[in-house]
């Protein structure tokens, strides 16, 4: 009898959570209407900020590239930087949200890097200048990075009022300028964001007019 009660209680709790949560489906495009990949869509609750996450994330180095190019994490997340190449990399960031350096290494570093401040972090490799990646450190657990089709879906977001923002490494201006307010109840909210993007002048792997002494 007690077991039955417990099962019923869990079911009711789950159902009520389902009934009191919703989803946000965002479509991100540029000014020409083309889908934008690697954009971070995130929902910030208008109430109290959630506690920092105790999660882990991974950013690989493969074939002299960071994978993935854009990673979204909640503030407090520990990120490992395994080097899957058989050469050494030297990962660094000058970004105010997280300054750090993982000096020349192969394999998996002993300690992860904890991103404990909200902001957007640019990663580089001191040896391979074309290796660039970005980390969006967010004050919320509700986020997703858009794929090639420019879509992101935030699911099981508790019913409340949210500000939905979008960030991209090439975004002109601040994400706050694109913010949309949403009063989320059960069901799905559809949002469309149109971004102004800067040209991408990141270092290229193709031979250029100067190699700066590399290799």
């Amino acid at each position: 009898m007690k077991r039955l009660c417990a099962v019923v209680l869990v079911a009711v709790f789950s159902l009520s959570r389902e009934l009191h949560s919703g989803s946000i489906e965002a479509t991100v495009r540029d000014r020409t209407g083309a889908p934008v990949s690697d954009a971070v869509v995130y929902a910030i609750g208008n109430g109290a900020r959630p506690a920092p996450a105790k999660r882990q994330a991974i950013i690989d180095q493969q074939n002299k590239q960071f994978v993935p190019y854009v990673t979204a994490i909640q503030m407090g997340t520990a990120v490992m930087f395994p080097n899957k190449d058989n050469i050494r990399h030297h990962v660094y960031s000058f970004s105010p949200a997280k300054r750090f350096e993982l000096p020349l290494y192969t394999g998996v570093p002993a300690e992860p890097v904890v991103f404990d401040k909200v902001g957007f972090v640019t990663l580089g490799c001191n040896i391979h200048d074309w290796m660039i990646a970005y980390v969006a450190v967010l004050p919320t657990p509700y986020f997703q990075v858009t794929g090639k089709e420019g879509r992101a879906a935030l699911k099981n977001v508790p019913a409340a009022q949210y500000t939905i923002e979008v960030w991209h490494p090439l975004l002109k201006g601040a994400p706050e300028n694109l913010a949309q307010k949403v009063d989320l109840a059960a069901g799905t909210k559809q949002l469309v964001f149109t971004l102004d993007l800067k040209p991408n002048f990141r270092a290229k792997r193709a031979p250029g007019l100067s190699n700066g002494g590399y290799p």
Binding site: A206, P207, G212, G213
Partner: protein, 282 residues
């Protein structure tokens, strides 16, 4: 001396095959070059122009010795096939050692490099075949995320069986490289060279002969009329413009134009050099 240096460089390169954590890079480029005055002649009637197909390949191995210091060893092959004056067809190879120091972390940090290359170029007209060595000191700084400045000095030394073709030169140069768009790069350069040049002219040229060593009748530019070669020390000012276009992740197209003026009173000649090539790096 050159053979010893070449041996040491080659041995280092071979040994490097066996070392772990080496950072391999393969580069290749092919295309066409045009020289409006291949004969380096001062009189319009003597000028011989030609274009060549070129193909170069380099395999390099790099080691990051510390955060800021990088060692590169490389081996290369290069070739030129001229459309008309095939005496100047060339195939050559060499090895290179380079130390680069970057003053800080990241791609924007200023850098300086010291490089030595030793090679051998074989010409179809073997009198031109030579051992050659070049030593370069070069530095660069990123003025902004889209603009870089480079300054360099190079000493080159060629040694041929016939010492008439032994050539030495000192060159200083400056280049500005700008990212025009995410795909297009532009470089503007200026260089000044002081060193040996060989100018060809139809004799008699007592005016040049008085200031140069003369080689009578090398058959490079034909035999009717027969040209003489005049070796002298010339001063060459060159301005250049280059455009690069990234086609794909590992491939780019590059175009270059150079205008060079070489003088040694009373001699003065001009060269217009045009180049278009496809470059690959992996």
């Amino acid at each position: 001396m050159k053979v010893a240096g070449l041996t040491i460089l080659s041995a280092s390169f071979v040994i490097s095959f066996n070392l772990a954590r080496a950072d391999w890079r393969f580069e290749a480029e092919t295309g066409g070059v045009y020289d409006s005055n291949l004969s380096n002649s001062d009189r319009a009637s003597d000028v011989k122009d030609d274009w060549a197909w070129k193909a170069d390949a380099t395999i390099a191995n790099g080691w990051q010795l510390s955060r800021d210091l990088r060692l590169t060893l490389a081996a290369d092959l290069r070739s030129r096939l001229w459309a008309r004056f095939d005496a100047l067809d060339t195939i050559g190879g060499g090895t290179l050692a380079r130390l680069r120091y970057r003053f800080g972390l990241g791609s924007d940090a200023p850098w300086i490099l010291l490089e030595n290359r030793i090679g051998y170029d074989r010409y179809r007209d073997t009198a031109w075949s030579n051992w050659n060595e070049s030593t370069r000191l070069r530095g660069g700084v990123a003025v902004s995320p889209r603009l870089a400045l480079e300054l360099g000095y190079e000493f080159e030394n060629r040694t041929a069986p016939d010492d008439f073709y032994d050539l030495q030169g000192h060159t200083v140069d400056a280049r500005v490289i700008a990212d025009l768009t995410p795909s297009w790069q532009l470089a503007l350069g200026y260089s000044y060279r002081e060193g040996d040049v060989v100018s060809f002219a139809v004799p008699p040229r007592p005016d040049i002969a008085s200031i140069s060593l003369v080689r009578r009748g090398p058959p490079i530019f034909g035999t009717n009329p027969l040209y003489n070669g005049y070796r002298l020390t010339g001063r060459t000012h060159t301005v250049s413009v280059s455009l690069g276009y990234g086609i794909a992740r590992y491939v780019s197209l590059q175009f270059g134009y150079e205008y060079a003026v070489t003088t040694h009173d009373p001699l003065e000649y001009e060269n217009h050099l045009v180049e278009a090539k496809l470059a690959f790096a992996y």
